[in-house]
Symmetry: C2
Subunit: 392 residues, 2 copies
């Protein structure tokens, strides 16, 4: 895993000043605050929260979602489903359109007693899921993907094929419900646009569910969600569950559309100053795109945050400093908005707040967990090293 040996020893790696850079940090205090905020919303809205674990991909981070009894989760890969099943999670939705080749692993999880739901949006997929279920003597619980905003997959709520797909699944004992994801809400730049996206997401799922019910098909699950709409929804009547993933960490893209504040960002990457190019106005670090990812999600927002904003090691934002360039293992920091380039000496450690938490987290094998509520003016203590699930 190439996790530095010293990082796992409380004697030799006690703070963020110790492990070699770059490395990923999770602020547990902020993560818990983000988790509680959405949990309270789901309670008020009267729906089950089914967090998407694709962002953190960590059993340790997921443990913060509940108090001992594994909660319902959403996953983006079967590797996640398998790892979380190993960790005791038994209620899992695999929210990527099912590929027939992957059904043996789905069935293996079902045989272990895991309720693993799959997703599809075509008659062809429904037919092979139904057939595989019959052959296995084990119905694969299946949701029909509804396209509420033209983001990627799914059937429009009024698609002619919807009842037929529902019928094929129902006849095989597989029909669980409908699922939609307002992916375009990431580009909803105002609170009002986000509320409208949430309403449309809810309406699309409910209309689809009602069409299936009108055809005599039972619909147990009506699942909606994205981080922006989950935080904007005002009425989820007819919806049974809410999904969101990014919200555990948040990021600059979410801050850029107002879903969170920059102070809520729970994931960062510790880097070290390795050079100065005053003639270009650059400070160079050892954190490049390998540590941050190539994600430039804020490039389309009103405020382009480059590859990320910069904080001190204790998490205090350094005003006007932005990571504007990235090679594989080099980051370039520059000043903007008339800010002068701060005097950051060689060897100084900084933290970079990412554009897109899912993408930045994916560049790392593990997180260094800290409690950011107790770290002013000091290098935060490392409480644990939390591994990520990798691969597919």
């Amino acid at each position: 895993m190439n996790i530095p040996a010293d990082a796992t020893s409380p004697h030799t790696a006690r703070t963020l000043a110790d492990p070699d850079t770059p490395f990923a940090v999770v602020d547990v205090h902020k993560t818990q605050r983000n988790i509680e905020r959405l949990a309270a919303r789901a309670d008020r809205l009267g729906v089950t929260l089914r967090p998407h674990v694709k962002t953190a991909k960590s059993l340790d981070v997921a443990a913060l979602l509940h108090h001992g009894t594994p909660c319902p989760i959403t996953v983006s890969t079967l590797a996640e489903a398998e790892a979380f099943a190993d960790g005791g999670y038994t209620d899992i939705t695999y929210a990527v359109g099912i590929d027939p080749h992957k059904l043996p692993r789905v069935l293996a999880l079902l045989r272990r007693g895991v309720t693993l739901r799959v997703l599809l949006d075509s008659i062809e997929q429904a037919s092979f899921v139904g057939e595989a279920s019959r052959q296995a003597g084990l119905p694969v619980p299946t949701q029909i993907e509804i396209d509420c905003d033209g983001h990627r997959g799914g059937l429009k709520p009024d698609a002619p094929a919807l009842p037929e797909i529902g019928r094929i699944l129902h006849d095989a004992g597989c029909l669980d419900g409908v699922l939609t994801h307002a992916g375009e809400s990431y580009f909803a730049y105002t609170a009002e646009e986000q509320r409208l996206a949430a309403k449309n997401e809810r309406d699309s799922a409910v209309v689809a569910a009602e069409r299936l019910r009108a055809a005599g098909l039972p619909v147990a699950t009506v699942s909606v969600g994205s981080t922006p709409t989950a935080h904007a929804a005002e009425d989820l009547t007819g919806v049974t569950e809410l999904r969101a993933g990014n919200y555990v960490f948040f990021d600059l893209v979410m801050a850029g559309i107002g879903v969170c504040d920059i102070a809520d960002l729970a994931l960062s990457v510790v880097v070290t100053v390795i050079g100065h190019r005053p003639e270009y106005g650059w400070i160079l670090t050892d954190g490049g795109w390998m540590a941050m990812s190539r994600d430039r999600g804020t490039a389309v927002q009103a405020q382009d945050q480059g590859y990320g904003l910069v904080t001190d090691l204790d998490g205090t934002l350094i005003p006007g400093l932005v990571m504007t360039g990235a090679s594989q293992e080099h980051g370039t920091l520059t000043a903007r908005d008339g800010a002068g380039l701060p005097d950051l000496p060689l060897g100084m450690r900084l933290r970079i707040l990412p554009n897109h938490a899912c993408a930045t987290a994916a560049q790392h094998q593990a997180y260094h967990a800290i409690d950011g509520s107790r770290t002013a003016n000091t290098a935060p203590a490392i409480q644990a090293l939390w591994k990520r699930v990798t691969g597919w």
Copy 2:
């Protein structure tokens, strides 16, 4: 590692049709052809080739570079240096400006008998490397980074500080030479621009070396290189070694500036068709940015290749089809240049040729090795599963 168990068994995963998608593929035939091409150039130019292993990060791919006796290599992380030292490589240059905190691991490698060179560009770094060498009783071989084109770090060849840095290193027994990297050559769009970039890269390194020698300082190594300039250089008089990394795989960025042909691309990602949205002109796959990276390197080129071009499973390009969209685990393929959307059925496997091999390879834990010279009209046989080095 989440490498599918079936992929390691020759009985159950014999071809690219077998492992669950997405997964990375290395065409060994093309890799060897790319390696031989640059090795022959280095021979003609009379310089040592020191490949940069940061692209493949694989001992198995690196084994293709030589015939049993580990060759000189360049690395981008100490994790690579340690993994390759474990694999018998003893002549390694760590080509990222040295952070003082990392010197203990550098010294540990030197004590193992590995000649590990570090890089720096400031008096402050030279002072602490010299001091650490004296304290350890073991000189750290050091190169001074020269900035030939304003890409990121280094001293301009005429920088006043150059002789002083050289003197500090020499007095500590650490001075090995100079190193430069024409990173801006990735944006040299014609063969003539690439030749000029190569000449400038060579001239910058040689001028810097001559300034040090004029100050009475011995310069053993004069190191230059980038994939574009390594393929364009016509005269490397005064240079001792040539570095390049991307060339083992090449990618669409390199094809876009004419350094290679698309037929030379040795890295690809196998994905599966999981949906169709004819109303939008989309084919959806299970390969998103997690499998391809967020790199959009061709976006600044004359021909934007989106997230990649699409081939059949045997490697035959599907004309006009481009991966234009990416979610975490979804890819969107669209037609361009007046091409119709091909009829690619659900469950069909495709290969995506990446913009940037270094970034796409980094999204994977391992490569599935094939011999692409024997695969027309059939699913290529998997010859081996090759692990990558991860982390820092």
